[in-house]
C-alpha cells in the first residue's frame, strides 16, 4: 500500500542534542494513530520533523509518504503533497485576516499558480474565485460551529487557546489533507472547548485521511477513537497496542511504561520542547 506514511529508524537532532533515536511508525490511509508520551519525549519534534522544520536535522532513517521520500522536500511542498500539521502553538500573523490567509493557503495547495505563467498571466492570477471561496469558507465554518465574524480577525492575533485550536481545525478543513498530524490539539482546552475541537476534527476527518494524533492525555481519545496507540519515550516508540493501551496509560502513568520497558525514570525528560509562543 503506497497511501501511507512510513517512518523508518528515524534519528533527529536539534543542534547537538539528539531527540529521536530510531523511531519507526506507519500510518495507513483512513487510520487514526495516537502517539502518546510524557513531556520532552520528542512528540513535537517528530511533528516538526515530518513537516520539515529547518532546525530539526535528520541524522539517519527515512520517511516516505505515498511511496516518495519527503525528507528533502520544503515544508510547502509537503503541504501540497497532502500533509497537514496542526500546531500545538500556532503563530500569529498580524494584519492578515483569517479569510485572506485561508484563501491564500487554499490556492497554494489546490489552485497553485502555474510556474510557467509569467508577466500578464501571473498578474491576472486570482486562484479560486472569491464567491466560490466564500461559499467554501461559510460551509467549513458552519461545520465547525464557528462565528462568521471569526474570519475577519487577524490570524491567531490575540486569540484564546481554544480559538487558536479551532482555527487549526478550520485550516485543516479548508486544506483537506490526506495526512493530518495533530500536535497536542487538546492541550490548554477546558472540557467544553475540547469537545468542540474534537467534534470539529471528527467532522473534518475523511475515510481517505491518515491521522497521527499526538497527545499527552487519554481524554482526547474518548472523542477520537484510535486504531492504534503508540508510546514515545526517549525518542523511540517503546510500546504499541490498541485503544486499550491508552486506558492502561491513564490508569498507570508513564512510570509504568518505564518499568515495563526498562527505561530509567527521567530519561527523555531532559529534551526541551519548544516554549509556548507569547500571545
Amino acid at each position: 500500500m503506497t497511501d501511507q506514511l512510513i517512518i523508518r529508524d528515524l534519528e533527529v537532532s536539534i543542534g547537538t542534542k539528539k531527540i529521536l533515536r530510531g523511531l519507526s511508525l506507519s500510518v495507513g490511509q483512513g487510520e487514526v494513530h495516537a502517539l502518546m508520551g510524557p513531556n520532552g519525549s520528542g512528540k513535537t519534534s517528530l511533528a516538526y520533523t515530518l513537516m520539515g522544520h529547518p532546525d530539526y536535522h535528520v541524522d539517519a532513517g527515512e520517511v516516505t509518504w505515498r511511496g516518495e521520500s519527503i525528507l528533502k522536500m520544503a515544508p510547502d511542498k509537503r503541504a501540497r503533497a497532502g500533509m497537514f500539521l496542526a500546531f500545538q502553538y500556532p503563530s500569529a500573523i498580524p494584519g492578515v485576516t483569517v479569510a485572506s490567509f485561508l484563501r491564500n493557503i487554499y490556492n497554494a495547495v489546490h489552485h497553485p499558480r502555474n510556474p510557467d505563467e509569467a508577466g500578464e498571466g501571473a498578474i491576472k492570477y486570482t486562484g479560486i474565485p472569491l464567491a466560490k471561496f466564500r461559499r467554501l469558507l461559510e460551509e467549513k465554518m458552519a461545520l465547525l460551529s464557528m462565528d462568521p465574524g471569526f474570519s475577519t480577525r487577524y490570524v491567531n492575533d490575540g486569540f484564546s487557546g481554544g480559538e487558536k485550536k479551532r482555527l487549526e481545525m478550520l485550516q485543516m478543513a479548508i486544506m483537506n489533507p490526506t495526512l493530518a498530524i495533530l500536535d497536542e490539539t487538546d492541550s490548554g482546552l477546558d472540557i467544553d472547548a475540547l469537545r468542540q475541537v474534537a467534534d470539529g476534527i471528527n467532522a473534518t476527518l475523511t475515510p481517505e485521511m491518515g491521522v497521527l494524533l499526538i497527545t499527552h492525555y487519554q481524554r482526547m481519545l474518548n472523542y477520537i477513537r484510535p486504531d492504534q496507540v503508540h508510546v514515545l519515550l526517549d525518542g523511540r516508540i517503546v510500546m504499541s497496542g490498541g485503544e486499550e493501551l491508552s486506558h492502561q496509560l491513564e490508569a498507570n502513568g508513564y512510570d509504568w511504561v518505564r518499568e515495563q520497558v526498562g527505561v530509567p525514570d527521567g530519561v527523555g525528560d531532559e529534551v526541551a520542547e519548544p516554549a509556548p509562543q507569547p500571545a
Partner: protein, 413 residues
C-alpha cells in the same frame, strides 16, 4: 526653451526666473529667500540628526528642473464656487495672485534640521501644489496631485495646503521621477490646518533609484483641528526627510503615519519633531518599514512637550522589519518633557527579522518562502494601511508598495 541653470548658481537661476512670467512680488520673495538660503549653512555631520546621512555625494551640479508641473485633479463646480483653489503653484500665482501672495507672506520657518533646504525651496521652486480651502468648506472627493520629472535634475517643488477653520479636505500628493538619472529632489510640504479643520494628507514618494530626496515638511495643527499625515516612501536612492509637527492649537490632534519599503542600497533617514506647545493636544506617530537587500533606515523621532502644554497625549512608534541580514534599521526616540501635567507620552521601537516560527507556520500551509514573506510583510503594514481612510489612496499606496514587496497574492477574501 527655458534656459538651463545649475541648481545652486544664483545668476543663472535669476535668469531662469526672469524668463518666467512672474509678478514682481514673487521675484522679490525669490531674491529674499535666496539670500536667506545663502546665509543658512548646510547641515553638518556634527548635528545629531545628520550624523547618519552625509550629503557628500548629493548631485548638486545637476540643472534645475524648470519644465515640470503638478497635475491636479479637477474640482467640481461646488468646490470652485465655494472659493476652493487647487492648482499647480505657478498657475495659482497667475490666477489667484492676491491669495497666493497672502499665503506666501505668511510662510514660516521649516524644520530646523532642513533650514537651508526649506529656504532653497522657497527661492527656487518651479512647480508645486497649491490647495486653499476656505472656512467651513467640506470637500468630500479625494484630491490628487501628481508631480513627475522626466530626466536628471534638481527640483524643489512646494506643496502648500491651507485649510481654513472648520474645513475638510483630503489630498493625495504623488512624486515620481525616472530611474537611473541622478537627481536632487528637494520638495517641501507646508500644511496649515486652521481651527477645527480636518485635513488628510498622503505623500506618495516614488522617486527614481538615483534620486536624492532631501525633503522637509511643516505641519501646523490649529485648535481642535484633526490632521492625518501619511508618508509612503518607496522610491529614491537616499531619502533624508525632516518633519515638524507643530501642535500649537489647543485641542488639536495629529496622526502621523509612515510606510517605508526599501531595498538594494537604498537609505531612508527621517527625523521628526512632534512639538506640543498647546494644552489638550494629541499627537500619535506610527512608522513601519520593510527593508530588503542592503537597505538601511534611520528614524530619529523627537517628542517635545513644552511646559505650557498641559494634559497632552503623545506617542511615537517605529517598527522595522528586516528582510535580509544586510538590511539595518536604527530607531532613535528622544522625549523631552517639560511638564508633569501630561496624560501620556511614550515610544516604542523595534527592528528585527521575521520570526522563523511564523515563517515555518505559513510555509507548512503550502506557501512558498517568498509567498509567506510577502504575506507577512503585507500584514505588517496593515496597521497603517487600515488607518488610510480613503479607499482610493489605499489602492495607490498598495500599488506603489507592490513594486518593492511584491504582489501579496490575493488579499481580498
Amino acid at each position: 526653451m527655458a534656459p538651463v541653470a545649475g541648481a545652486l548658481d544664483p545668476a543663472a537661476l535669476m535668469e531662469v526666473f526672469g524668463s518666467r512670467p512672474e509678478p514682481d512680488w514673487l521675484r522679490t520673495i525669490r531674491r529674499r529667500t535666496w539670500a536667506g538660503y545663502d546665509a543658512t549653512p548646510w547641515p553638518s555631520a556634527s548635528e545629531e540628526e545628520w550624523r547618519r546621512t552625509r550629503l557628500d555625494e548629493l548631485p548638486r551640479d545637476v540643472p534645475l528642473v524648470s519644465d515640470a508641473r503638478a497635475e491636479v485633479s479637477v474640482l467640481d463646480a461646488d468646490a470652485t464656487g465655494a472659493g476652493v483653489v487647487f492648482a499647480d503653484l505657478g498657475d495659482a500665482v497667475r490666477d489667484h495672485p492676491e491669495l497666493v501672495q497672502r499665503v506666501l507672506a505668511a510662510d514660516a520657518a521649516g524644520p530646523r534640521t532642513h533650514a537651508a533646504f526649506w529656504e532653497l525651496s522657497r527661492a527656487s521652486w518651479t512647480a508645486g501644489t497649491f490647495l486653499y480651502v476656505p472656512a467651513g468648506v467640506t470637500i468630500s472627493l479625494v484630491l490628487r496631485s501628481r508631480t513627475a520629472t522626466a530626466g536628471a535634475g534638481a527640483f524643489f517643488p512646494r506643496t502648500i495646503v491651507v485649510a481654513e477653520a472648520n474645513s475638510t479636505v483630503t489630498l493625495l500628493d504623488e512624486f515620481s521621477s525616472v530611474d537611473g538619472e541622478p537627481g536632487w529632489f528637494g520638495g517641501t510640504v507646508d500644511i496649515r490646518a486652521g481651527a477645527g479643520a480636518r485635513v488628510r494628507y498622503a505623500n506618495l514618494q516614488r522617486l527614481g533609484d538615483a534620486t536624492w530626496n532631501i525633503g522637509a515638511q511643516r505641519v501646523e495643527v490649529g485648535p481642535d483641528a484633526e490632521v492625518t499625515i501619511l508618508n509612503a516612501q518607496v522610491g529614491s536612492l537616499v531619502t533624508k526627510l525632516g518633519m515638524d509637527i507643530l501642535m500649537s492649537g489647543r485641542g488639536g490632534t495629529s496622526r502621523l503615519l509612515g510606510i517605508l519599503a526599501a531595498g538594494d542600497e537604498q537609505k531612508i533617514d527621517i527625523n521628526s519633531l512632534q512639538d506640543l506647545s498647546a494644552s489638550n493636544t494629541t499627537s500619535d506617530l506610527l512608522y513601519l518599514s520593510a527593508l530588503y537587500d542592503s537597505a538601511h533606515a534611520v528614524f530619529y523621532g523627537s517628542t517635545r512637550v513644552r511646559s505650557e502644554a498641559k494634559q497632552t497625549s503623545s506617542f511615537q512608534e517605529c517598527r522595522n522589519l528586516l528582510l535580509s541580514p544586510k538590511a539595518g534599521a536604527e530607531p532613535i526616540p528622544v522625549l523631552e518633557i517639560e511638564t508633569n501635567d501630561i496624560l501620556r507620552c511614550g515610544h516604542g521601537a523595534t527592528a528585527g527579522a521575521i520570526d522563523p516560527v511564523q515563517m515555518f507556520y505559513a510555509q507548512s500551509r503550502g506557501l512558498s518562502h517568498d509567498q509567506a514573506e510577502r504575506m507577512i510583510v503585507r500584514g505588517f503594514f496593515e496597521r497603517v494601511v487600515a488607518q488610510i481612510g480613503s479607499e482610493a489612496i489605499r489602492a495607490h499606496v498598495l500599488a506603489a508598495l507592490e513594486d518593492r514587496i511584491g504582489s501579496a497574492e490575493v488579499v481580498a477574501a
